[in-house]
């Protein structure tokens, strides 16, 4: 049984990582085309750093991604709580409204936001790009925080306020730590969505601001440069290392003990 579980997870991992492995491989391929193995090379890595467009897109992607994820996490968590506290009727209505952007085709979201910014007479650029990313990330955050709120021990917030915490203090000291997994997964989701988004970004950005997705998509016409594979490999390695470091720290910290308690879950 235990073996089976591990094998299953391993298979899922293979599924998830097979294309990534290939991507990494391509980054060392001495041919511009995916279809041909032209021998091992590091030249894409060299060229990568001299490509102004890619580097600046990378910067935009990262800064927009992080900013949008942080802001939408704050906004979304706040929103989830506001929704959670509403009476059932208005809450369901608001929930539907908040989920609307997810129902839209990306291009519709992109175009409608573009029209919105035009109405507001905003010059397309970094700000509009950021705003649009925030706006499509928030529903995902709300969606991941909501279930955690439902699982909350109802007296917890009360206990905090009872002890003199203002609602805000109570939130930060008691509620937030408790719903943290939901908030974190919301943040991750937002970051992921933002980094991966092309369509909405395209319509809502303006001169001078381009993210990686836009650069990559527009490259497709002429063949995606293996430089992008090299970049992806670097990002991947970076995040992986960062993650391992963070987790190693985590293992040393007493919180690790908390996990051991779970040993008895029967499945």
């Amino acid at each position: 049984m235990k073996k089976l579980r591990k094998v299953y997870i391993a298979l899922i991992m293979v599924f998830l990582y097979a294309p990534i492995a290939l991507l990494v491989l391509y980054s060392f391929n001495d041919s511009k085309s995916r279809a041909k193995w032209g021998g091992f090379t590091l030249r894409w890595y060299q060229e990568l750093f001299s490509d102004k467009v890619i580097i600046s897109s990378l910067m935009t992607t990262l800064s927009i991604g992080l900013l949008a994820a942080v802001i939408s996490t704050i906004l979304g968590t706040f929103g989830a709580i506001v929704l959670y506290q509403m009476k059932r009727g208005p809450r369901n209505m608001m929930l539907n409204v908040v989920n609307l952007p997810m129902l839209n085709s990306e291009v519709v979201t992109g175009v409608s936001l573009m029209m919105l910014f035009a109405l507001a007479n905003l010059q397309m650029g970094y700000m509009t790009l950021l705003l649009s990313h925030i706006s499509f990330c928030v529903p995902y955050v709300v969606l991941s925080v909501m279930p955690k709120l439902r699982q909350l021990e109802p007296n917890l917030a009360e206990a905090a306020q009872d002890l003199g915490a203002t609602p805000l203090q109570g939130f930060f000291k008691v509620i937030l730590p408790d719903i943290m997994p939901g908030v974190l997964s919301g943040f991750l989701m937002a970051l992921t969505m933002s980094i991966d988004d092309f369509v909405v970004s395209f319509f809502t950005t303006g001169s001078g601001v381009s993210n990686l997705s836009i650069t990559i998509y527009t490259m497709a016409k002429r063949g995606i440069s293996p430089k992008i594979n090299a970049l992806s490999t670097l990002i991947f390695a970076g995040v992986l290392i960062l993650m391992l470091i963070l987790n190693l720290k985590d293992m040393k910290n007493p919180e690790g003990a908390k996990k051991i308690e779970k040993v008895k879950i029967p499945y």
Binding site: N155, E158, D162, D178
Partner: protein
């Protein structure tokens, strides 16, 4: 208005969304440094009343005055009132010390001082050395004590305690009772205490409010409540009692169990139906042949209760609960006598056994 009254609850009603009336107009004035206990059966609205005072439940109607000022619009954290919750509501992601230090650390008090106070509080509740323990590794009683320490450390004006000693063993419970009582006296904090233990209520309180189905039936000092219950329900609830449908023959003479008994009460008219309440410890057992005025019965069951034996003595259709330090074997015939001052006569209420039987009301609720 009385200067000493710190909390004044005026006709507070709570009707839940599903239409259930949890409190049906409760009024009570609580004095500075008073120890008031709410006593009542499960589901009678004790917790709901505390939640109204704490600010977690908005009364459907009524007023709650704190030092003369209506605090209903005030959020909980602006009330100088702390609560020990019935189900503890400890913060799961903090250890014991962090839980206890929550209040003071909010007020940004000096860290060293806080940690000294935390140790002091934990010492007080018998958990010295538990500072670093995770909440989930504590036993039920230990968790409860952490909850008490967490509330006490804030030295609030009013402390609400919802069955705070419920999970403690008798010995610890006694110790904590004395400790809480001492704290209350010395600190000048007003305690509003919920318990289902009548002995606890009688021991600790300045006044006891007996509640039933969202109403306060009787409010008074422990001795008043115990000795002069105003209704059969209170009498029964405050200590196991025998409630017998009776007839007041005339002043100072009441008829029950087929016999006339002299009694201390008067003013119920003549030949009126009343209830008589007999405490089990007030019924004395004599040999059957004893000449005293009494009723003969057969011991039906015998239970050892430590301090005394509890017997059920049957006479005709009725069975009386009797406490005695001497056991009588099951089947023994005995004569039961009661001193006139131990007979409590009270007006019929819906709690009278014959009324309840007619209504078809079952056991508890």
């Amino acid at each position: 208005m009385d200067n000493n009254i710190i909390l004044s609850i005026r006709n507070v009603k709570v009707v839940f969304e599903d239409g259930f009336t949890a409190l049906g107009g409760v009024s009570i004035d609580i004095g500075q440094n008073e120890f008031v206990t709410l006593l009542g059966p499960s589901g009678c609205g004790k917790t709901t009343l505390l939640r109204c005072i704490g600010g977690f439940e908005k009364p459907t109607s009524g007023e709650i005055l704190y030092k003369g000022e209506n605090i209903i619009p005030l959020p909980p954290y602006k009330r100088n009132i702390n609560t020990v919750f019935q189900r503890y509501a400890l913060f799961p992601h903090m250890n014991v010390a962090q839980n206890v230090a929550f209040g003071p650390s909010l007020r940004r008090e000096d860290k060293k001082q806080i940690s000294a106070r935390v140790s002091e509080m934990l010492e007080l509740v018998g958990l010295a050395g538990f500072e670093k323990r995770r909440i989930s590794s504590l036993s039920g009683g230990q968790q409860q004590r952490v909850a008490i320490a967490r509330a006490l450390i804030n030295s609030p004006d009013v402390l609400l305690l919802d069955e705070p000693l419920g999970a403690l063993d008798l010995k610890l419970r006694r110790e904590m009772q004395l400790e809480l009582k001492r704290i209350q006296r010395e600190s000048g904090i007003t305690f509003i205490f919920v318990t289902h233990d009548q002995e606890e209520a009688l021991t600790m309180s300045d006044r006891v409010a007996v509640m039933r189905a969202g109403e306060i039936l009787q409010l008074g000092t422990p001795v008043d409540i115990y000795n002069e219950p105003e209704s059969a329900f209170v009498a029964d609830f405050i200590g196991a009692s025998n409630i017998l449908p009776s007839t007041m023959v005339r002043d100072h003479l009441v008829h029950f169990l087929g016999t006339d008994f002299p009694c201390a009460d008067s003013g119920f008219g003549e030949n009126n139906p009343v209830d008589v309440v007999l405490r089990p410890e007030d019924v004395k057992l004599k040999p059957e042949s004893d000449p005293a005025n009494g009723v003969v019965g057969v011991v039906e069951s015998l239970l050892f209760k430590g301090v005394h034996y509890e017997m059920k003595v049957r006479t005709g259709a009725d069975a009386l609960l009797v406490h005695s330090t001497h056991a009588r074997q099951v089947g023994t015939r005995v004569k039961m006598t009661v001193a006139p001052e131990d007979i409590q006569v009270m007006r019929k209420s819906d709690y009278s056994p014959d009324v309840r039987a007619r209504k078809g009301e079952g056991g508890a609720q």
